[in-house]
Amino acid sequence: MKPVDETAIRSVMGTVDSVRTIEGDGFAVRRPFPTEQLAMYDPFLLLDEMGPTDYAPGEAVGAPDHPHRGFETVTYMLDGSFQHKDSAGNFGILTPGSVQWMTAGSGVVHSEVPSEAILQNGGRLHGFQLWVNLPAVEKMVPPRYQEFPADEVPVASNEAGVWVRVIAGEALGVYAVINTHTPVIYLHFILQPGASHLQRVPSEYNAFAYVIEGRGRFATDEEEEESGEGNLVAFDQDGGQVCMTNTGDRPLSFLLLGGLPINEQLARYGPFVMNTKEEVLQAIEDYDAGRIGVIDF
């Protein structure tokens, strides 16, 4: 197989529209995957854009106690605040710009609900939840909880109109502070109108962009269609860089995600993502028996 030129710019493989659905106790999400069109994006299992939703006092809802096993959940907030509690004893309030990287591993029960401030006063909730798969040998690792407030998550910008928050990986010479089990890039870019940026993404990584707001082109080919809000842009693995350009008249905000594919058999049911059907059935049995844990504080 011919080696890939790491200086080459990746082409766009295709674009997927996200679907709108309801999660937890009834909050709206935009979901590029899993959908009927795209069930996963190895090593990523799910991406949900929560909101943006404006709640009146007393209206906001979240996802009360529920389990996970076999992967990691990553929550990144843009607006509003969520309260997290889990069966390992962790507690946190996630505010705009903060990131929570929770390795469920062998199993965690957690709750993700609007903070008291949002519940009492109302307000906007907007954020992301990403599920990152774990390889078979790490699916039953002990749970791990990492939480970083906004001022501890590195950001960088340049004079060309590019701003980036580095959740995982590297951009504009700035490195993430979060430890990941698998090699992952997770970047939130905002490009001003007319701005363009080349970002290194190793060719062996699967990579995509998810547009939050604005319009942009994600290839150097000017015939490539522009993408907008709610679009997932899938990159081919034919290069080691991706090119993003704001083609609109307002800021282009998007996530750029990449990861080394795990390439393993997968069996999933709801919040359990394992390698075999038997392992999923065991997870459900363990949860029903209380062996995954309970939140008791």
């Binding site: 899993p34 529920h66 390439n263 997968l266 069996a267 919040p271």
Partner: protein, 52 residues
């Protein structure tokens, strides 16, 4: 490539799988996922007929 793949309309590298219990060296699983358009974060009830 089977009919499911063709329906997806992706240019390449999509794999349609007989189930979500799969072995693949491709980036995508193209299987229609039973739980794709519903609440799945807390889907813990044992279904009568679990689809894999």
């Amino acid at each position: 490539m089977n009919t499911e793949d063709k329906e997806l309309g992706f240019p390449k590298d999509l794999v349609a799988l007989s189930s979500c219990e799969h072995s693949s060296n491709k980036p995508f699983c193209g299987k229609t996922h039973a739980a794709s358009a519903q609440a799945i974060w807390g889907l813990v009830n044992m279904p009568e007929a679990m689809e894999f």
